[in-house]
């Protein structure tokens, strides 16, 4: 492609990536605390849809993978499948203390986590449970990482 055309195209793509991040939520054995907070982000109070964020049902539609919970042995395989199904560029956000450090489940024989050992994690959102504000901030950081990724660019 000619460089004259490439530059404006790149700018449009970057802008579109910043304005349209679709999430896929994966529960890797979470206690439901962080899951509820993630859904709260989309409620009228926090309204993450302003940023173009949408919670998608299918990993193939997603840009950002949000993982909650320490990765239990029974969810590990599904997590790896879902991660492989997300088209590039993709960013992983670990929500809450569990995917970061296994939290209180550390040392359990049924826990395979923390998440960073299984798939590459880009952003960690702290908290047990993570607050909606913190989650939105983490997703905003993830969007910046997403826009900078090289895959799929013209």
């Amino acid at each position: 492609m000619s460089p004259v055309l490439q530059k404006p195209l790149l700018r449009i793509v970057d802008r579109a990536r910043r304005k349209s991040a679709w999430l896929f939520h994966f529960n890797a054995g979470s206690c439901n605390g962080c899951d509820i907070e993630l859904v709260a982000c989309l409620s009228p109070r926090y309204d993450a849809e302003q940023l173009g964020i949408r919670l998608e049902g299918s990993p193939r539609h997603a840009d950002i993978l949000c993982v909650t919970g320490p990765v239990t042995r029974s969810t590990r395989q599904a997590l790896e499948t879902v991660y492989a199904q997300i088209p590039d560029p993709k960013v992983v956000v670990a929500i809450g203390s569990c995917p970061a450090s296994n939290n209180v489940f550390d040392g359990s024989p049924v826990v395979d986590g923390p998440l960073g050992r299984i798939i590459p994690v880009d952003v960690y959102v702290p908290g047990c449970a993570a607050r909606p504000h913190a989650i939105i901030r983490g997703i905003a950081e993830a969007i910046e990482i997403l826009a900078a990724r090289k895959e799929g660019r013209p």
Binding site: A16, S20, D47, G52, G57, R60, H61, I86, P89
Partner: protein
């Protein structure tokens, strides 16, 4: 209708150049209004454009070649059918269309749900299959009143040409016919309370679950065009465009079809999703009633000509 005019209406107005931004604007308006009605600020009006560009710039996960072909052809066919249907709408052109273009219009219009059903089965995902089954059942229930109303209007106008139906249907037939068409619009656009095929809490994204990147972008584009076609159909029935100059006809058509979005968005956010039997029952009872009234008034007005 010569080749040049046909290409012009396919590619410029009311086709590609007009319909794509219009469809994005309609989708954006729908999302914004839904958000406002729920007490949220919501995404910008240009959201559908950004979604489209972002999806185009994704690198899809590799698939077997046989899958790839089918999964690319179906959304392309859907976009093409919608553009063809749009080109047939008699908008601001004095002698547009040809005898019997209603039949071609309906055929092209029905190609989109058909492609969507095939897409669901072709994706071989359980969610896609369930979504496709729902889509097929719903589309049959919705199409009976829709087609009956269109045929009744065609019979009372004495022609199968869209331009003459839009111009010559008496209002006693047109009003119940329009009501039936409007009742079927949310079914065809998969909006609440008929968002059964794409019910995201139940069957993920329905038939489109397995689509990614540019293929999903094409589906989104087909959906945007579907909005323009169906809202445009309602618009030409409400405001029969007769011999308007293009400068007045284009904004009028755009405004009339855009004005339908608030109506659909309000109904969608005020209602909850129905179950499949409930939706079928509603359509067979109330939408078919409106179609039956259309048919009856066509029968009683059969000797009356304006």
């Amino acid at each position: 209708m010569n080749l040049f005019r046909a290409l012009l209406s396919l590619l410029v107005f009311p086709g590609l150049l007009f319909a794509v931004p219009m469809g994005w604007l309609m989708l954006g308006t729908e999302r914004k209004l839904t958000a406002r009605l729920q007490g949220r600020i919501g995404p910008p009006l240009s959201q559908a454009f950004y979604d489209f560009v972002k999806l185009l710039a994704k690198a899809p996960v590799p698939r077997p070649a046989s899958d790839r072909l089918l999964l690319t052809v179906l959304p392309l066919l859907s976009v093409g059918a919608m553009l063809g249907a749009l080109a047939l709408l008699p908008v601001a052109s004095p002698a547009g269309g040809f005898a019997g273009d209603l039949i071609l219009f309906v055929g092209l219009l029905e190609l989109a749900p058909l492609c969507s059903v095939l897409a669901g089965f072709a994706s071989r995902s359980i969610y896609g299959e369930v979504g496709a089954t729902r889509e097929a059942i719903l589309s049959i229930s919705g199409n009976v009143p829709f087609l009956v109303a269109l045929l009744a209007m065609a019979a009372s106008a004495g022609s199968f040409q869209l331009a003459q139906i839009a111009a010559g249907t008496p209002w006693a037939v047109r009003i119940p016919g329009l009501l039936a068409v409007l009742l079927c619009l949310p079914v065809k656009l998969r909006l609440n309370p008929f968002s059964i095929a794409n019910a995201e809490q139940e069957v993920l994204a329905g038939p489109l679950t397995e689509y990614d990147g540019a293929r999903l972008a094409l589906w989104e584009l087909a959906h945007a065009l579907e909005w323009v076609v169906l809202a445009g159909l309602a618009a030409i029935l409400v405001l029969p465009f007769r011999n308007l100059p293009l400068a007045a006809g284009v904004p009028l058509f755009a405004a009339a079809s855009w004005a339908l979005v608030p109506l659909l968005a309000t109904v969608a956010s005020a209602t909850a999703r129905l179950k499949l039997p409930q939706a079928s029952r509603f359509l067979w009872r109330w939408a078919l009633l409106a179609s039956a009234v259309t048919l009856c008034s066509t029968f009683f007005l059969r000797d009356w000509r304006p």
